[in-house]
Amino acid sequence: MSLRLSDLSACFEGVIPSIIATASADGAPNISYLSHVVRVDGEHVALSNQFFAKTAANVRANPKVTLMLVDGLTGDQFLLDISFVRSIDAGPLFDRIAGQLAASSAQVGMSDVMRLRSADVFRVRGIEKVPSPVAATAPAPRRAPVDLPALADAIRAIGRQAEAGAIIDSLLCGVQQVLGYANALVLIHDSHRQSLITTGSIGYENSGLGSEIVSAGGMIGAAAASGQTIKVSDMSRVRRFGEAIGLEAGATENTTRTVVFPQLPMAMSQIAVPMVTRGVVAGVLFIESTERLAFSEEDAAALDILAGQAANALRASEGEAAAAETGHATATPEPAATETDIRIVCHRFDDSVFVDGVYIVKGVAGALLRLMIEWRLGEGRSEFTNREMRLAAGARMPEIKDNLETRLLLLRRRLDEKQAPIRVVRIGRGRVRLEAGGPLALTVRD
């Protein structure tokens, strides 16, 4: 065939519905729209076909099928001569299709009624382009290929980092430099709060550090739960999953104890890439763009590589921080009593912490801050090791054995962002110092 499936990548975005024509054994044609078509490899496509029993029956009685695909960028139409091979209802390919279906269902506002039971795999026997009445006056908009040497540089840069903050910053830098996307977030999984917490951010007016997405919610939650990349290529028909637009972030944080999720106004494409290491989803890399169909298959593959490298580096960083710890750190004197007290209020029910009336953080990061403050006040020391924090908090929050570094990173960044009079400074592998601009006055409430 002169046209190859790989030439049709913009047809597989789920933006413009595909069409399937079948015929029964006795020669009666049938035609319907399809919710999603997935390119399996160079010669096969898979179709999700939830409802149309007639189509399913026809392809089993008569494997000859005609598929119409539409390029979401140009509107060009293609007719594919395909034949039924087999049906699948489990396995990695099925999971991939189910994940893509979840995203495309959201695009058409039908996530409630679309649930994949099985998918049919077809061999592609021929592809022809449908004549277009539109004269090709200018070359169609095309996406630039991924720059592989730049990707390799970005992978090496992430691999060189040992500290969680530098790893996340390198990942976001790679997203920007290799693929040119200016708005990106890194969310780290928090099983204690059943959520994903924004721990790194570029390109947003409000960084959103500390904002949370419920683990089961929206495409970010779905990417984390399924371990599959999920993208939306045309937001014009999608209800935004985020929180209400236009909230004054700083003004509401102190009353809601909730950081507003960052928003890119006029976003048209979004992609959520799970950060997987050894089969465990550590977090999600989330990127958005004001362009329709911004994220090509190649982009998704490059992001998958970057996210995986960062997940591995974060895991190694936790291990190194734990291995480097040695006993209790040294004591440091409290600042002079003449300075103004720094009022710290901790709430037990959600582990939230306020410093001089300003909401800082909650959950594991809040619990760690309270722990350090209590040690500082009780034992007169300001330097702490990951190990002692893990021992002290691990019974109530067992998951911190795997992600203490990212929790401390979130805490450090929130204190910096809120310009708080106390800071947590990393002073070495597995060690931090709590710095305060005055004496601490701690109140713990239920």
């Binding site: 413009i16 069409i19 399937i20 024509a21 079948t22 015929a23 054994a25 020669g27 009666a28 044609p29 049938n30 035609i31 319907s32 729209y33 919710s35 939830q50 409802f51 149309f52 029993a53 007639k54 008569n62 000859k64 099928v65 005609t66 598929l67 119409m68 539409v70 979401g72 960028l73 140009t74 509107g75 060009d76 139409q77 007719l79 001569d81 058409v108 039908m110 009624v113 679309m114 449908v130 004549p131 277009s132 009445p133 539109v134 045309d234 014009s236 028909r237 329709r292």
Partner: protein, 161 residues
């Protein structure tokens, strides 16, 4: 005797909405073809519908209708995906002047509706053309609900005679 189905008032009301139209034929070997319709006209008996499509763009539809006369057409409302499929026997004829008007109205309504839903005009343009228009006169024998959901594929309540 072949049964025919009559479009009821509810279906006629549906057909007045801005719609997209997709058509399938089949050749003698059982291989189906697909194309897009760009206009239609329900005849007074309500059991026959004239479908307009571009013979230039969808030549296989032309040859398939000539070969077997079997045809299926699905109308979908892009705003809410409500869809109905009609099936039956079809004959080809050259289009006539009134049908050119039907095509122009259909293309304008569909284009406006898709643009309202956020599809860019340059993306829509390749789909809707009446170049080399052909007319297939379909005698309706079956009508199905095609809206995605639990009722998809069910025969619907048109009158039988």
């Amino acid at each position: 005797m072949t049964m025919t189905m009559r479009l009821d008032d509810r279906l006629l009301e549906f057909l007045r909405r801005p719609l997209m139209c997709i058509i399938a034929g089949v050749d003698q070997t059982g291989r189906p073809s697909a194309g897009r319709g760009v206009g239609f006209n329900v005849l007074e008996d309500r059991t026959t519908i004239d479908l307009i499509f571009s013979g230039w763009q969808w030549p296989r539809l032309v040859s398939d209708i000539r070969q077997t006369g079997r045809l299926a057409v699905t109308f979908v409302s892009p705003a809410d995906y409500v869809s109905f499929q009609l099936k039956g026997r079809a004959d080809l004829s050259e289009t006539e002047v009134p049908n050119a008007d039907h095509a122009a109205r259909f293309i304008t309504a569909a284009t406006d509706e898709l643009q309202r839903l956020g599809v860019a005009p340059h993306v829509i343009a390749p789909w809707l053309t009446a170049q080399g228009a052909r007319l297939a006169r379909l005698s309706i024998q079956e009508i199905y609900i095609q809206t995605p959901g639990p009722h998809a594929g069910m025969m619907t309540g048109a009158e039988v005679r």
